[in-house]
């Protein structure tokens, strides 16, 4: 039974990465109607950004937590301005292919220079060590990841669903022409939204740098699972993707305990089941 608690907690930790990443995807899909396949590559860039800040400029983890999402977010906005904006109004397939291509190029460039086995990034001193919870030894850093990502997720949800800015944004997706008539600069708002989604991915990258290796393919390995999370949660639903992210982390953790061989397929089995029963996803609405 103790082992089970430990697995639940570990699942929650992985779930927080799924939640952060799928949240970014859901924001971008919900507001821009773009299926952002470059999300994994941008997550990877976040981790690399933290690595460079530390090793080239001697800027540590805490500033990186703010700087890396901003830097990568700006990079994302440049991508949106120069490429993605021309695809608005076209079929989803175009956005998917473009972002998928971008992901391959970005990953290829990093792989060319850094190889595939990755670079080490140490846990910040303040978060080193762990505490004994009785049923398990919890590394403090992992506890921090769960708490911090939960706060970020809820803040993002609040921003989009409960503030005036969020309301404008949602209105702009529904009917851009009408919102423009109110004097709101819709293209700028869309660029900023893409930047926000990308920033969330980069933030997840910085959070994961001390746990996983900073590797060019760290995002490629994760992105497929995250897409499954978004599909299960319901495309474009903010709260849906947060809850599904955490829940799937837990389910995956339990699978690792009961039947480890299936741990990297269980998410997809669930996706198939959910699609069969409720094609719009758990929280999605048919339109």
């Amino acid at each position: 039974m103790q082992a089970l608690y430990a697995q639940l907690l570990v699942g929650l930790i992985n779930g927080s990465f799924y939640a952060l990443l799928s949240l970014g995807l859901a924001v971008i899909f919900g507001m821009l109607n773009i299926i952002n396949f470059a999300h994994g590559a941008l997550y990877m860039m976040g981790a690399f950004c933290a690595y460079f800040l530390l090793n080239l400029l001697n800027i540590g983890y805490w500033p990186a937590l703010i700087l890396a999402p901003i830097i990568v977010g700006i990079f994302g906005m440049i991508l949106e301005r120069t490429m993605l904006q021309w695809l608005s109004g076209l079929d989803h397939l175009y956005g998917l292919l473009l972002t998928f291509g971008m992901a391959l190029i970005i990953q290829g460039i990093f792989q060319n220079y850094f190889g595939s086995s990755g670079l080490p990034y140490a846990i910040p001193d303040e978060l080193k060590g762990g505490m004994n919870l009785g049923f398990m030894f919890l590394p403090i850093y992992r506890g921090w990841v769960v708490v911090f990502s939960l706060i970020v997720c809820l803040a993002t949800w609040y921003l989009i669903e409960r503030t005036r800015l969020g309301a404008n944004l949602r209105a702009a997706t529904e009917n851009p022409t009408l919102v423009r008539a109110f004097g709101i600069n819709v293209p700028r708002m869309i660029t900023l939204t893409y930047g926000l989604g990308v920033g969330l991915a980069a933030l997840a990258g910085v959070l994961s740098a001390p746990i996983n290796q900073v590797r060019p393919l760290m995002g490629a390995d994760l992105i497929i699972v995250v897409f499954a999370v978004v599909v299960i949660g319901g495309m474009g639903s903010i709260m849906g993707s947060i809850i599904t992210g955490f829940a799937l982390g837990v389910i995956e953790g339990l699978t690792k305990y009961f039947y480890p061989e299936a741990s990297n397929t269980v998410v997809f089995v669930l996706m198939v089941l959910v699609l069969l029963v409720k094609p719009t996803g758990l929280t999605g609405r048919a339109n």
Partner: protein, 406 residues
């Protein structure tokens, strides 16, 4: 009339001579370096192995003697079906003579069958499974560098003898992990230890915390890592995070490469014991080669033992071809010639090839340096022991290879 007959005879003679010349002294060779070019094993093999093959060709001096030798590369993506498809195309369409490297035991065993069927030459340096020279041995295959039997009888044995008598395995769920766990288990049992449990994890897992918690609660003295590449680095890093080593359990990195140690970082990796058959900083020859190699690598990395094995294997292959006076394009003939010659090159020193295809050379027990002991970016190991080739690898009387029963 007389002149015409003479001219005709001369022409015939010339044609015959040219024909037999082409037959006996075909000096074209095509080498295929088949590897994981972008996944978790790309740094230990991949583009570096292709470079190693290329450098072996350059150092052989054969090109200056009029030989035409090409090196091509392919990406098997760690998928046996992809590896088999490339190998078949290489033999059938591209007329490749020899396939080298091939990390990932699953792919390596599948390609083994193709090379035998097509009568090519197979010098495997990247794969670990000892099956390549035992149950699944082939007259066309030579296994360089290392194997699971060697890893079990060096690192594994040393740990059991040092008192690590209870083991829990974290095993990569495919041919390699299974072979390494099997060979290590045999050593543990033979030395009076026991295996208290284990988990099979999917290849290329990023989060090991669940598995590590299970290993922790098993209370085994040793946690055996029967995995490789990125899986091993993640296991070791996360074990440190969960306080496993501090809690008194010891990690057995049964297979660890130079690039893995670099990726983990000395801070976390220091003190780990493991076995390799090559390290760049062994002697002047290895340092000299590694310097040239690193200068041509995009990330400036010196060769891993797998890449060094590719170099050594290709050098020996080209020596055999030179001794044959040309390329007969006949795998069996070339492999027989290779087995009949002792191996000798700047990286591995002197060695021999057994009839089952196993190359014997010394294995070295290393310990990862402390950060304070490391003086250069790739100064990572210190040598703690040497095991001679005939003790490190499967003795012939224990090999189950069918070739030995003739």
């Amino acid at each position: 009339m007389k002149n015409r007959i003479a001219a005709l005879l001369l022409g015939t003679a010339l044609t015959l001579a040219a024909g037999s010349l082409a037959f006996a002294q075909d000096k074209t060779v095509k080498i295929g370096s088949l590897s994981d070019q972008s996944g978790l094993y790309a740094d230990l093999g991949g583009p570096g192995s292709t470079l190693a093959a290329q450098m072996a060709v350059e150092d052989s001096g054969l090109v200056a003697k009029g030989w035409k030798i090409d090196v091509i590369s392919g990406d098997h993506q760690n998928k046996p079906d992809v590896g088999v498809a490339i190998a078949k195309q290489w033999f059938d369409v591209d007329k490749v003579d020899i396939i080298v490297d091939v990390p990932n035991s699953g792919v390596a065993l599948a390609v083994n069958n193709v090379v035998k069927e097509k009568n090519g030459v197979y010098v495997n340096s990247g794969a670990a499974t000892s099956d390549l020279t035992n149950a699944q041995c082939s007259p066309n295959t030579i296994h360089w560098t290392y194997d699971t039997y060697m890893l079990a009888h060096t690192t594994g044995q040393a740990l059991v003898k040092a008192g690590g008598d209870t083991w829990f395995f974290l095993t990569a769920d495919y041919a390699f992990g299974a072979a390494l766990e099997r060979d290590t288990t045999a050593v543990i049992l033979a030395n009076g230890g026991k295996v208290v449990g284990g988990v099979k994890h999917p290849l290329n897992t990023s989060d090991f915390s669940s598995f590590l918690l299970q290993a922790q609660s098993s209370k085994a003295k040793i946690i055996g890592l029967a995995n490789a590449g990125g899986d091993t680095t993640n296991s070791i890093k996360q074990a440190a995070e969960f306080g496993i080593v501090k809690g008194g359990q010891k990690l057995a990195a049964l297979l660890l490469f130079l690039t893995d140690v670099k990726a983990i970082g000395l801070e976390t990796a220091q003190g780990l014991n493991f076995t390799e058959t090559f390290y760049w900083d062994m002697n002047d020859d290895t340092r000299d080669f590694s310097k040239k190699f690193a200068a041509r690598m995009k990330n400036g990395a010196p060769p891993t033992m797998v890449q060094a094995g590719v170099y050594s294997g290709v050098r020996h292959y080209l020596k055999a071809l030179e001794a044959l006076g040309g390329n007969p394009h006949d795998g069996l003939k070339v492999v027989d010639k290779m087995k009949s010659m002792p191996t000798d090159d700047p990286l591995f020193g002197k060695g021999e090839i057994q009839p089952n295809g196993r190359v014997l050379h010394s294995a070295y027990l290393f310990e990862v340096k402390k950060p304070s002991e490391s003086k250069a970016p790739w100064d990572l190991y210190k040598l703690v022991g040497t095991v001679p080739g005939n003790q490190a690898f499967t003795p012939l009387d224990k090999s189950t290879c069918a070739l030995l029963k003739k």
